[in-house]
């Protein structure tokens, strides 16, 4: 087993563990051992504000992606084969388009003279264009769109494995459709929910392009602080310390969540 896994382990070691370890080392060693980079993070208010904003946005994006993604995945898993292929294709198609292009597309849609504002004005719903972009709102909308496939695909993978017989059995015993959904389908789809939300949440924590292009300069997420620190302090350590703190806080969150939700049992479900 170990022999089979060794090429993959080697790749992970060379491309992930070593560079990340090297960067982490930089954050505590610069012309000698130093905790300056961490002292700065825990003493300057900008870091706390960015971390808190980043977690809030990530949480919001995850909830919205789940609310939007669950019905899509559900539909794809219950319709006939041909239709499910079409639904999944529509989910994956934007996935093949560059994130940069999609961020700019949202800019064209949401800005003051953009399609959405012009349409609403045409309908007479609003007089003045709404501020839909260059703020947190625009950032969240585009991020949800970009991360949606990461929610839908794990959900679909789990849902298509749920035997339809179970729902029919539930129905034959007199369960109403909504009862069957809440008591049979939803619990069985939880591993997918967990995988999807984890994936989206973690990816969102490190998002750079959407807050940079659509955040108007004031949506300073953690990734923006990382790039700013490279410029300001001219050394990797000041930037990688921010990354290390983000990584550690995510691990801590999962440890805490893991105490309340039996993660291994849900994910280990066959």
């Amino acid at each position: 087993m170990l022999a089979l896994a060794s090429p993959a382990l080697l790749v992970i070691l060379l491309l992930i563990v070593l560079p990340v370890g090297w960067l982490a080392w930089q954050s505590i060693y610069h012309d000698g051992f130093t905790l300056e980079n961490y002292r700065r993070i825990f003493s300057e208010a900008i870091y706390w504000r960015s971390f808190s904003l980043t977690f809030q946005i990530s949480l919001l994006v995850t909830v919205l992606a789940l609310l939007l993604g669950y019905p899509i995945a559900y539909a794809a898993s219950v319709v006939p084969k041909g239709w499910s292929v079409l639904i999944l294709a529509l989910v994956i198609l934007p996935f093949w388009t560059s994130v940069l292009v999609r961020a700019y597309a949202w800019l064209a849609l949401l800005q003051r003279t953009g399609v959405v504002n012009q349409f609403l004005q045409y309908l007479g719903i609003i007089d003045e264009p709404l501020a839909l972009v260059h703020n947190t709102f625009g950032t969240v909308v585009a991020t949800v769109h970009i991360l949606l496939p990461f929610m839908v695909l794990p959900l679909y993978a789990t849902m298509q494995k749920i035997p339809h017989d179970l729902m029919q059995a539930g129905a034959s015993l007199g369960g109403s459709p909504s009862h069957n959904f809440w008591r049979i389908f939803l619990p069985l789809s939880l591993p997918g929910v967990l995988a999807g939300t984890t994936l989206v949440f973690v990816l969102c924590l490190g998002f750079y392009i959407t807050p940079e292009l659509l955040g108007g300069g004031r949506t300073v997420m953690v990734s923006l602080l990382v790039s700013r620190n490279v410029e300001l302090y001219d050394q990797w350590g000041a930037a990688s310390a921010v990354g290390v703190v983000l990584l550690v806080s995510v691990l801590v969150i999962f440890l805490i969540v893991g105490r309340f939700i039996p993660l291994d049992r849900i994910l280990g479900q066959k």
């Binding site: 090297w22 930089q26 610069h30 012309d31 300057e44 208010a45 900008i46 504000r49 960015s50 800005q111 003051r112 003279t113 501020a131 260059h134 940079e212 292009l213 108007g216 300069g217 004031r218 300073v220 602080l225 700013r228 490279v230 300001l232 302090y233 001219d234 050394q235 990797w236």
Partner: protein, 353 residues
Amino acid sequence: MAVASNTGLRALFGAALGLLASTSIAANAAEQITFVSQGGAYQKAQTVAILDPSAKKLGITINQDSIPDAWPVIKSQVASGKPIWDVVDVPTGYCLRGGEQGLIEKLDFSKIPNAAAMPEAYRNAYSVAYEFYSSVLAYSQKKYPDGAAPNSWADFWDVKKFPGRRALRNHPIATLEAALMADGVAPDKLYPLDVDRAFKKLEEIKPNITVWWTSGAQSAQLLNDGEVDMVMAWNGRVSALTKEGAKVAYTYNQGILQSTSLCILKGAPNLATAVKFLNEAVDPVHQANLPLHIDYGPANPKAFDTGVVKPERVAQLPSAPDNAKKQALMSYAWWASPEGEAAEKRWVSFVQK
């Protein structure tokens, strides 16, 4: 800020250096230098206007390289002890900061006679100005027709007289200067900047700033799409819009005149030739060639006496004497000082709140 002394980086660059050196040795035995600028249309314009003519005149080969942000590479090349670049064209602040950190050669101006005609403020111990651009007040002519157009930073700050949406650069450099001028400080009395006063003035306009832009392209797009009505932008970006027929305009009044400069890496492989090139690069005729190819102004004022640039073109250039005197000349020395660096660090906490 300490000099890069990072062993890992050094090893990486050592390896890269070895590769590069083995490929470039074959070039030729004649004198040569490696010149580095920021690429794109700007570097192409220089090649035609300045680099090719200089190479011809001096009988040397100018190898070119380009990079958007040369600073980290300058640091690691010098730290490696064997730099491969000779001359870099970078924002003047980097030459100064690099000079203080021992990354940049001190210049012997007796060997750069062409620089003698340049004002004292255009050069320093480590560098000589190469070209000028300006951070100007640009606006939509649809929103503010002639006669009702904003003409100063005080106008930019006056949201009653000039209602409309605004954008500023998401960076303190030039923005703090504009804030102080809006608060009544004269363009020639800005330095040392009163940082507290500038941030206080910025707080005043902050609710009316729709976007804090990060790239030059973004600043132009915002104005062109009508996302904002007024913006601080680089003159070249606005004039490019005008050429495409956009109804936008800008004023040099109270613009902040900024430059990139040429400086030489410490321990450059072709130091003597590099100094010769520096002199040739600021030659009045070569300098006058530049604005024929791009919207940047020459750094040597004598370029305007050569007759190479037509009067109507002169009127458009940021460093033309008539335009320069309406503007504030950026002090890179102040921005490279501890006070300047502290102001730069203060910026994020200002935009974030």
